[in-house]
Symmetry: C2
Subunit: 391 residues, 2 copies
């Protein structure tokens, strides 16, 4: 069976190297041999996170890492400012509430972003001790200004939790320079590792706060347990040895590509997708200047349904793109161009998308999307991609 | 590099079929194709659990599943009776405390077990709403009478949480017949699936209690989120697709072997290990009638150190057995004979162990251990194993 092509914002397709790494026999998790693998992972995670901070490796989804970050620094009554604007940003606030925090929300329109003034004001009004933000909001295809939030959080003496699950390893994330105290990411997005691992890079300030927060409700997801283990160069609970092998192989691939080249590639793919969408008379959900570089959210054209676009792409062409979530269900579709996606895969998707749109009655100039994308990819990646021979 | 042979109580070695399943390309986790794999896993988990209850599949270690079970039914002030007797039994109590429960402990000597009268009395005295037990206590090699605790829990109207992480799939666990309301297991033990998945089989009574417990502190590990997803035949968060492939392959192997034959094999391996230990003048930690059928805990003989036994087994023979944990550190070693372990592997280990003991100065009659084991294995498994030709 030939697998459906995944162009969703995670889980992403894995390189053979990564898949085969998981087939390696399982090692004892408390052995020097496995410690070597962990050491390499920690070194490489520091490289992609752009941090000197310690990184907790958690067996669980990205949400598990979100919960670990929040539950470790929040206790009943902690004042939290949750910056909204999409499913995942709001989830951070919801988790904080679950653990008893008093959550103030900075409401942000889904698809939009915030100004520095709004954040400044919300921090003042809420007196927040902790501020949470989803850097790259997968549900809306928006990238928010995490650097600015980090600066303001420091100014107000608040701890900064950033969910960078769909940006670390694919777009610029400066954990240290931006002052992110708890920087969360996941394995199955831009890192192109198998799903099932979450990570939190923890600043010294955050470790200190955890020691002061007495009334934490966490055990498996208590980051202080990870710190204790980290300092013995191990993990507090049995890690998924097989997934760590996959992670290790994926991170080595990033090191070979270099983080800089990888980010350049993601940005070129994103810009190509946006240009192609415009050339096909499609409308982006976010404003262009806040559009994500790892996932592109596009409105379903008037008169067409989710089935007309996503359904046909999957059934007729075997390509899976993501739909809208919650209030955007049926209104947008989302193309993931993260991880190992290369120019050829994006161009294939765009060619198929054009066919689907035309068959569903949406007016598109033949070849307009792929041509627009090709120009960007050639200019940005310096690759010579074969242009359309016809004319 | 030839991997060290794992004879520890998890993670266990995986069959090639299971390892290679993980190398399969990742599917979208919200597709009918993946739902089929999940359906099969649920059906087969019901078979190994001996239950009609729904089973939550959690990406995380066994401890994550323990936390999910506890945190979903406990709120600040809930009265919990925690039956101790080892590291993992006590961990359940510790988790309950983390989530605000008032925990009473039934103290059990490490290596020992409890009587029905003690449990009955402790339930009466504590007025417990929830009772927790680790069925097969890996840290001490003891199997407790979970059926009896289940009966008493019903009698006292308490919910019963059993950690059966190292017994499901290797020893008799009658989830429904014993009245286990939240039955926890893990992937990397008797199931011989890759580490990184935890499971909780949840009774109707337990679902009902969760809906009444308002002040739960959980999100990723909130079982009600799993129920909601289960009823749509999916998972609430991105599951580790690769690990689920591995789980699926492992469960299919159990179905082919049959659960009955698998339990018979585990019991024969355990009895063979115990007889061999006795024949080599070694002392079991637990009393014989409570000794586990998946892991055997043996005292390090007087005058020998952990390095004399475990160190030499690893360095000279490339076999990893487990050491003692916490208060048993340096005092015992533990042989895992769970998952895919077969007669030949156990006999190899015993032959090497004999060499190690003799070289370290412990008196052993040559061949006594393997001969004692061979007799049990032949009688119990009906296999003809080649006896020692010398005389």
């Amino acid at each position: 069976m030939i697998a459906t092509k995944l162009m969703i914002p995670g889980p992403v397709e894995l390189d053979d190297e990564v898949l085969l790494a998981m087939a390696r026999p399982v090692m004892g998790h408390r052995t020097p041999e496995f410690e070597e693998v962990l050491e390499e992972c920690w070194r490489l995670l520091g490289m992609v996170y752009r941090t000197k901070n310690e990184v907790a490796i958690i067996t669980g989804s990205g949400t598990a890492a979100m919960e670990a970050a929040v539950a470790s620094v929040v206790e009943p009554g902690t004042r939290v400012l949750s910056i909204g604007g999409g499913k995942f940003g709001e989830r951070l606030g919801e988790i904080a509430r679950c653990f008893g925090a008093e959550v103030s929300r900075l409401e942000v329109e889904w698809g939009g972003t915030f100004s520095a003034e709004e954040v400044d004001e919300a921090l003042s009004e809420s007196g927040a001790e902790v501020v949470t933000l989803t850097h790259n909001e997968t549900s809306t295809g928006v990238v928010h200004d995490a650097g600015e939030v980090g600066r303001l959080a420091r100014e107000h003496g608040a701890l900064f939790i950033a969910d960078a699950i769909t940006s670390v390893g694919g777009d610029v994330v400066e954990t240290d320079a931006w002052g992110i105290d708890l920087c969360i990411t996941g394995s199955q997005k831009c890192l192109a590792a198998p799903p099932g691992l979450g990570f939190v890079a923890v600043s010294e300030r955050a470790w200190e706060r955890m020691q002061e927060v007495r009334n934490r409700h966490a055990f498996y997801l208590d980051l202080l347990r990870y710190r204790k283990a980290l300092r013995k160069r191990t993990t507090p609970f049995t890690p998924s040895v097989s997934l760590i092998y996959g992670l290790h192989a994926a991170l080595k691939r990033i090191e070979r590509e270099t983080l800089e080249a990888r980010i350049r590639r993601h940005r070129a793919l994103a810009e190509a997708t946006r240009r192609a969408a415009e050339a096909m008379n499609l409308e982006l959900l976010p404003e262009r200047e806040h559009a994500s570089n790892t996932v592109t959210a596009i409105r379903i054209p008037e008169g067409l349904s989710d089935a007309d676009v996503r359904g046909r792409l999957k059934e007729e062409y075997g390509i899976l793109v993501a739909g809208g979530q919650e209030k955007l269900k049926g209104r947008i579709f989302r193309i993931g161009h993260m991880g190992e996606v290369r120019a050829g895969e994006l161009l294939s998707l765009l060619a198929c998308l054009e066919q689907v749109l035309r068959c569903s009655g949406h007016g598109v100039k033949p070849g307009a999307g792929t041509e627009a994308a090709r120009e960007v990819l050639e200019a940005e990646l310096g690759e010579s991609l074969r242009a359309c021979g016809g004319g």
